[in-house]
Symmetry: none
Subunit: 151 residues, 2 copies
Amino acid sequence: MGLTDLVAQFIRSALESDRSVELRRGELAERFGCAPSQINYVLSTRFSPEQGYIVESRRGGGGYIRIRRVEAGPRLILMHALASVGNSIDAVSAAAVLTNLDAAGAITPAEGRLMAAAMSERALAGVPAERKGALRAEIFKQMLLACADAG
Amino acid sequence: MGLTDLVAQFIRSALESDRSVELRRGELAERFGCAPSQINYVLSTRFSPEQGYIVESRRGGGGYIRIRRVEAGPRLILMHALASVGNSIDAVSAAAVLTNLDAAGAITPAEGRLMAAAMSERALAGVPAERKGALRAEIFKQMLLACADAG
DNA sequence: TCTCCTTTGACCTTTTCTGACCTTTATTAT
DNA sequence: ATAATAAAGGTCAGAAAAGGTCAAAGGAGA
């Protein structure tokens, strides 16, 4: 397991007991023996708003980084996701949204994998690059609607 | 015996003890003294879904290739369905396949609805008619693969 | 010979990680 | 008060580390 996932795991486990954790970027970097900017990388790839996290921070003396898990009912999260898809979306962002939906219990892990597969680069290979995002968004929305319908 | 079969043999024997193996493309290529892309050739010709295997991979630092053997049961039914889809399929035929899979207990009704939504005319509106069938087939296959993956 | 299967190499995309440089905030000295 | 300094955190470009794709060359049989 790479460094990024180690750090992400550390943060997640800290978030298990509390809904919000506060940490020092420098300390964390030192603990994992990496560059401080690596922490920013972890936060932006694993704790994005799309994945259901809010990250706040403060610079200067006594600075900190606070990570909070956003919680809401399945229905609301589904609707929010639907709204957030927009007219175009890339595979990575779509996967992030699915992570959030799964964590919120709005979809099952199996449904998440299914949807991810339907929108994967693999599935949409052959579609012209400039049309791919829009098509993915359309498919995503139809699937989310089907979920909302069933639930 | 050619290189391809040697590598295939190596992987199969690794799969005998475990249901799933993880390997580094570069390492394997080095061990057999061949081009890395040769590994992809082996995987696509000897470990395809039609042959009962699921291959996942990740790029970038710490990347890997994981190969899983699918055993008899609902999974295998999915693989057979996958093989039957072909290069192109229309919405009606796809729906028929889904009905059969549901009846066979290989997928849940919810999964069926989800897949139908992803392949619906609505989702694929905007795609040129002459490309729609092929795209639907590709999406369908990826979703079936994801189903087999689950559980 | 002709065809199909193999094999390679050149080029591409994705993911991770670092370092140089920048901005913000708190504290301390004048 | 003000100015200097120290102590955070933020950004971004680029290197490095994987794996993916595709067309073309090579080989083994029919």
